[in-house]
C-alpha cells in the first residue's frame, strides 16, 4: 500500500501539470484552478496518510520504492527510487500542505489572468519537482528535482514576460543557481567516481566505514555546499532572490516557503553524515550562514518595497538554518525550515492580499493606516510577523530559533589545527540578528498598518483567499509546540521523530541563554514601536539618503560587484566572440589564397606581356639594325669582314 502511494504523491501534481500544459489555455479558468489545487490537495492527503502509516509502524524502517534502473554501466549505476523516512516526511508534509494552501489562495488571486493555465501548470510542476527532490533516495534522481525546481522558478519568475525586467530576473535566478548546480554536479561526479553509486544509504555507509578518503569527502562536501548555497540564496549567491519578487505573489510564497530555497537546507540535512565528516565545510557553512543572516537582516531594515523586505528576511532566516546545519544540529535547521515555511507563506500571502487591495502599490511608505480598513489581514500579518520575529512562547518561530541558538552556544568551529572559532561569537551575532529581525518586520508592520491613511484600500479579501490565510496563521502561532526547550517544558516530539535514538538535551543550559534569546525580539519590538509605531513617528520618510544606507538597500553592492567582475567581462568576451576567430582564420586563408592567386595570374600575364612586348621591340630594332647593315655598300662589307678576321685571329693567338 505505501509502496503504491509514494509514487502517486509525485504523479498527481505531475500529471496535472502535463494536462494543463497540453490544454494550452483552452480549459476554462475555473477548471484550471480546480485541477491544480485538487491535484496538490490529493498529494497532501496522501502525505498525511503516509505520515500516519510511517509513524504508527512499530519498526522505524523507512518506506522504500525502487521504480526502475535509470542507468547501469560497469562503473556506475543509478536508480529512480523513492524513500520515505521522517526527514523526507517532514518535507513532503510542508511541501504539499503549504503548497495546497498557496494553490487555494492562487485560484482567486490569479483569476482573470490570460495565462492562468501556464501559471498553474508551472506551479504544479514546481510541487512535483520539489517532491522528487525530497523523496529521492538516489542523488542523481534528486538532481532531476533539483534542476526541475530551478526550471519552474525560471518559468514562474518570468511569468509576466512582457516586462523585460521580469524575464531578466528569471534568467538571473536560473543562471546563478545553475552555477551552483554545476558545482553540485562536480560533487556528484566525485562521489560517483569514488563509490560507484549515488544511492544515499550506500554513500552514508561508505562515509561511516571510512571507504572514502578524507580529501574526497571534503571536496564533495565543498562542491555540494556551493550547490546548496546557490539554491538557498546564501552569500555570495544571494543576489537572485530579491529580484525573484518579479513573479506573481503566490509564486514568491511557494519559492520562499515550501520549495526551491529550502532545497539547499534539505540536501545538507539529508547528507549530514557526509558533512559532519568534513569539518572545513561545516565551519564554512556556519560562518556563511551567520554572515548572511546579519547582512540580509540589515538589508531588510532599509527596504521600502514590501515584498523585498520579505525576500531579504527569507535570506536571513535561511542564514539561521545554515548556521544550524554548520553547527551539526540539522534537526534544528529542519524545525526552523518548517516553522519558517508557515510564517513566510503567511507573510507573502498576506502581502499579496494587501498589494492587491491597495491597487498594486508595493512601497510601504505609500501605505499606512490599513489597520482600520483591513483588520483581518492585519491580524494575520501580525501573526506572521510575530512568528518571524520569534516573540517568546506564543509563536512558532520562537521555539525553532531558540533550538538553533542554544545549540550554537555550545558549538566550536575548528578553523585550523590550532585555532577554532568559538560558538559564543556566532551566538552573539545570531542574537543581534534576532533583534534586527524583530526590528525590521515590526517597522514594516507599523508603517503599513498604523499612522495616517495614505492610500485607499478597495474591495475585500475573498473567502477563498481568507481560508488559507487563517489556516497558516494558526500554524504560525501554534506550529512550534512540537518542540519546547527543557527549561520550559520537556517536549521533544519533532527531534524524536527525526532521530528516535535520542537527540541532545540541554538540561545543563544556563537559563539566561533562553532569556537572552527571548528578550532580543521583545527589545526589537519596543524599539520599532518607539521609532515607527507612535502616531508621531520619529522616522516617517523613506530612508536611504546616506551612502551606507543606499549600499545596504541595494544588497551591499554585490550586484554592482558582479556586474563588474562577471557580467561585463562576459559581455566583452561575447563581443569578442561575435565572430568565430577560427572561422575568420579560415576565411582569411581563403581570401589570402584568392589574392595570391589573383596576384600570380596578374604576375604571369604581366611577365608574359612584358616579354612578348620586349621581343617584339627587340625584333623590330634588330630588324632595323640588320637592315641598316645591309646597305649594299661593298666597302662596309669588306671592312666588317676584315674586322671579323682580326678578332678571330687575335682570339686564336691570344688564347
Amino acid at each position: 500500500m505505501p509502496e503504491f502511494l509514494l509514487p502517486l504523491i509525485v504523479l498527481s501534481p505531475f500529471s496535472a501539470a502535463i494536462i494543463l500544459f497540453l490544454s494550452a489555455g483552452r480549459m476554462p479558468a475555473r477548471y484550471v484552478g480546480l485541477l491544480a489545487t485538487g491535484s496538490v490537495g490529493l498529494s497532501a492527503i496522501i502525505s498525511v496518510i503516509l505520515a500516519v502509516l510511517l509513524l504508527s509502524a512499530p519498526s522505524a524502517e523507512p518506506i522504500r520504492v525502487t521504480l526502475w534502473e535509470w542507468m547501469h554501466t560497469p562503473v556506475f549505476s543509478a536508480h529512480i527510487a523513492f524513500e520515505l523516512d521522517p526527514l523526507s516526511l517532514v518535507m513532503i508534509l510542508v511541501v504539499t500542505v503549504i503548497g495546497f494552501l498557496i494553490h487555494l489562495y492562487a485560484v482567486d488571486y490569479m483569476r482573470g489572468d490570460p495565462g492562468i493555465a501556464r501559471f498553474f501548470g508551472s506551479m504544479t510542476l514546481f510541487i512535483a519537482a520539489m517532491l522528487v527532490l525530497v523523496l529521492s533516495s538516489d542523488l542523481l534522481c534528486l538532481f532531476i528535482g533539483w534542476e526541475g525546481v530551478g526550471l519552474c522558478s525560471y518559468l514562474l519568475i518570468g511569468f509576466w514576460y512582457t516586462n523585460p525586467a521580469n524575464t531578466a530576473a528569471a534568467r538571473k535566478a536560473f543562471y546563478i543557481t545553475r552555477i551552483g548546480d554545476a558545482a553540485m554536479l562536480c560533487g556528484l561526479l566525485l562521489l560517483a567516481a569514488t563509490v560507484g553509486t549515488l544511492q544515499i544509504d550506500t554513500l552514508t555507509e561508505a562515509v561511516t566505514a571510512g571507504q572514502i578518503t578524507p580529501t574526497a569527502v571534503t571536496g564533495t562536501a565543498l562542491f555540494l555546499l556551493v550547490g546548496a548555497l546557490a539554491k538557498s540564496a546564501q552569500i555570495p549567491f544571494q543576489t537572485w532572490l530579491p529580484d525573484a519578487m518579479a513573479g506573481p505573489t503566490p509564486t514568491s510564497a511557494l519559492i520562499h516557503a515550501a520549495t526551491m530555497v529550502t532545497a539547499g537546507v534539505y540536501l545538507i540535512a539529508r547528507l549530514h553524515i557526509l558533512f559532519t565528516a568534513a569539518t572545513v565545510a561545516m565551519t564554512v557553512m556556519a560562518v556563511i550562514g551567520t554572515l548572511t543572516l546579519l547582512m540580509a537582516a540589515c538589508s531588510a531594515l532599509v527596504q521600502a518595497d514590501l515584498k523585498r523586505i520579505l525576500a531579504w528576511s527569507t535570506i536571513s532566516q535561511l542564514g539561521y538554518m545554515f548556521l544550524a546545519l554548520g553547527t551539526g544540529v540539522w534537526q534544528a535547521a529542519l524545525f526552523h525550515l518548517m516553522t519558517h515555511a508557515f510564517f513566510k507563506a503567511l507573510l507573502f500571502l498576506t502581502a499579496g492580499a494587501i498589494i492587491e487591495r491597495v491597487h498594486h502599490e508595493q512601497n510601504i511608505f505609500r501605505m499606512g493606516g490599513l489597520l482600520r480598513t483591513m483588520p483581518g489581514i492585519a491580524g494575520s500579518f501580525l501573526a506572521g510577523a510575530s512568528a518571524l520575529a520569534g516573540l517568546p512562547l506564543i509563536t512558532a518561530g520562537f521555539y525553532s530559533k531558540e533550538l538553533i541558538l542554544s545549540s550554537v552556544w555550545h558549538a566550536n568551529f575548528p578553523i585550523s589545527s590550532r585555532f577554532s572559532l568559538s560558538g559564543h561569537v556566532l551566538w552573539a551575532i545570531a542574537v543581534v540578528g534576532a533583534f534586527l529581525t524583530s526590528l525590521y518586520i515590526f517597522r514594516c508592520f507599523f508603517i503599513v498598518f498604523f499612522g495616517p491613511l495614505k492610500k485607499d484600500a478597495s474591495g475585500h479579501t475573498p473567502l477563498l483567499m481568507a481560508i488559507p490565510l487563517a489556516c497558516i496563521s494558526f500554524l504560525s502561532v501554534f506550529g512550534g509546540v512540537v518542540e519546547i526547550p527543557d527549561t520550559l517544558a520537556p517536549v521533544h516530539l519533532f527531534t524524536q521523530m527525526l532521530n528516535p535514538s535520542g537527540f541532545f538535551t540541554h538540561t545543563e543550559d544556563p537559563a539566561w541563554l533562553l532569556y537572552a534569546g527571548a528578550a532580543a525580539p521583545l527589545v526589537g519590538l519596543s524599539v520599532a514601536w518607539l521609532l515607527w509605531g507612535r502616531t508621531s513617528s520619529v522616522i516617517q520618510e523613506i530612508p536611504g539618503q546616506t551612502i551606507i544606507i543606499r549600499l545596504t538597500e541595494s544588497g551591499w553592492g554585490f550586484d554592482i560587484l558582479y556586474d563588474f567582475v562577471l557580467v561585463r567581462p562576459f559581455r566583452f568576451l561575447n563581443w569578442l566572440g561575435r565572430h568565430d576567430i577560427l572561422d575568420r582564420m579560415s576565411s582569411g586563408a581563403a581570401s589570402a589564397t584568392r589574392r595570391t592567386n589573383a596576384f600570380l595570374v596578374r604576375f604571369r600575364t604581366g611577365i608574359l606581356s612584358y616579354v612578348s612586348e620586349r621581343t617584339i621591340v627587340m625584333t623590330r630594332e634588330g630588324n632595323v639594325l640588320l637592315a641598316r647593315m645591309q646597305n649594299g655598300r661593298v666597302r662596309w662589307y669588306a671592312a666588317w669582314i676584315v674586322t671579323g678576321l682580326c678578332v678571330a685571329l687575335a682570339s686564336a693567338v691570344l688564347s
Partner: protein
Amino acid sequence: MSPLPALVLVPALGGAIAWLVDRPRFVGARKITDASWRVTLMALVLETLILVLATFRRPAHPGPWLDHFTAPWIPSMGISIRLDMDGLSLSLLWLTIILSFPCVLLATRQIRVNAGAFHFLLLATITGIIGTFLATDLFLFFFFWELMLVPMFVLISAWGHEGRHRAAIKFFLFTQGSGLLMLLSILGLVVAHFHETGVLTFDYFTLAATRLSPSLSMVLMLGFFIAFAVKLPVVPVHVWLPDAHTQAPTAGSVLLAGILLKTGGYGMIRFNIMLFPEAAERFAPIAMALGVAGILYGAWMSCAQNDVKRLIAYSSISHLGFVLLGIFSGSRTGMQGAIIQMIAHGLSTGALFLIAGSIQDRLHTRDMHQIGGLWTSMPRLSGAGLFFAVASLGMPGLGNFAGEFLVLIATWHVSPAAAVLTTAGLVLAAIYSLRMVNRIFLAPERADQQPVTDFPARHMIILGSIMIFLVVLGLYPQPFMTFSTPSPLSITAEPDKVESPP
C-alpha cells in the same frame, strides 16, 4: 534474404521515382503539385517497414552482429558489397528514420521550385547516410561517405538562403578534402595488409587483424580521425558547420545536424577506436582536450550569436564535444554516453532547427533582434521551442543529460580537471539556451509583428513524439545503452561466418 540491401536501395529508388513523377511529361496534363512529396513519404514508410523487419528478424548467426550481407563487386581488387548491422548501426538507423519523417512532413512540402529534384537529393543524402552506417567494406564505406556529401552540397547551394554559395563551397571543400585523407588512409591500410598477407581486400574485419607498426597505425588513424573530426565537427575544423547549417534549407539543416554529423561519431567508434585501438589510446589525451575545447568554444560562440540558426549550430558543436570526449575516454561508460548523446542531440537539435525553420518561414528573418514575443501569437510553437531548448541545456530527465552525465563520469575517471571544465560548458549552455528562449519566445511582442499562424495540431503531434522520445531516452536510457553498444570485431572476424546464405 537479408533486408540490408533493401534498406540502402529503397530511398535511392524512391528518390529516382520522386524525380521522375515531378516531370510534367511523365504525369501528363493532370499534374499533382506535391507528387514527389508523396512518393518520398511512401519511400520512407516502406523504409520504416523494412527497418522494423530488420530489427525483429532473428539473427542468422548467434552473436552480437544482427545481420550480414555480402555480394562481390570488383573481385579483382578485393572490393565487395558488404553490409553488416549491429546495435550501434541499428540505433543510428532508427534515428535517421525518426528524423527523416519530421523533415519530410514539416519542411519539404512547401518546396515548389523543382520539388522533384529536391526530394531526389534529400533521399540520396539519406541513402548515403544509411549506407555509411551499414557498410563494412572500406571502399564501399568511402563510396557512401562521398555519396552523402554531393547531394547535400547541391541542396545547400540550390535551395539555401542568401549566402548559400559560399556556405556550400566551404562545406564541400572541408568535407571533400578530409575525405581524401581518409581515402589515403584506407589505401594505406589495404596496402599494409597486402604486404603482410598477400591478400588484396577492403574487408573491415579482415583488415582489423592487420599488424601495424605503432607509427604507421598512428598515421593511418589520424587520416581517419581528421575526416571524422571535420564531420563531427571538432573545433579547429568546425568552420564549415555554422555557415552550412545556417544557409541550408530547413530540411537540410535538420538532416545535417540531426544525422549527418553523427556519421562522424559513428566513424570514430567503428574505425578509429576499433581498427586502431592502441593508436587511439595514445591519441586519447589530445582528442579529449579537443573535446573539452569544443564544448567550451562552441558554447562561447553560441552565446554571442544573434542569428537563431547560427546559435543552434554552435550549440551543436558544444554538444558534439561531449561525443568526442566520451568516445576517447577509453571506457564503455563514455562510449555509451557518447551514443546516447548522439541520439539525444539528433532529436533535440533537429527539432530546434525545425522550429527555427518554421519561424523563418513565417517571419522571413533569423535575426533574434527582429523576432520577439512569439509566445502570445504562437503558444504551441513557443512551448515546443522552450522544451527543446531546455533539453539542450541538459535538464536531467531528458536525453541529453543522460548522455552528458555518462560522458562526465567517464571523463572524471580519466581527468577530474577536464570534467570540471566541462561542467562550466553546462553553465554556458544555460546562458545560450535561455538567451534564445528569451529573445524569441518570452519577450514583449514587437509592435511591427506581422500576424502569424501557430503550428497546426498535426505538426505538434510530430514534435510531441520527438519530445516523448527524449523523455524516454532521458528517464529510461538503459535499453538503448545495452542495445547500442558496438559489437566487438572478434565475433565475425572468422571467415567461415562471412558466407551468409543468400
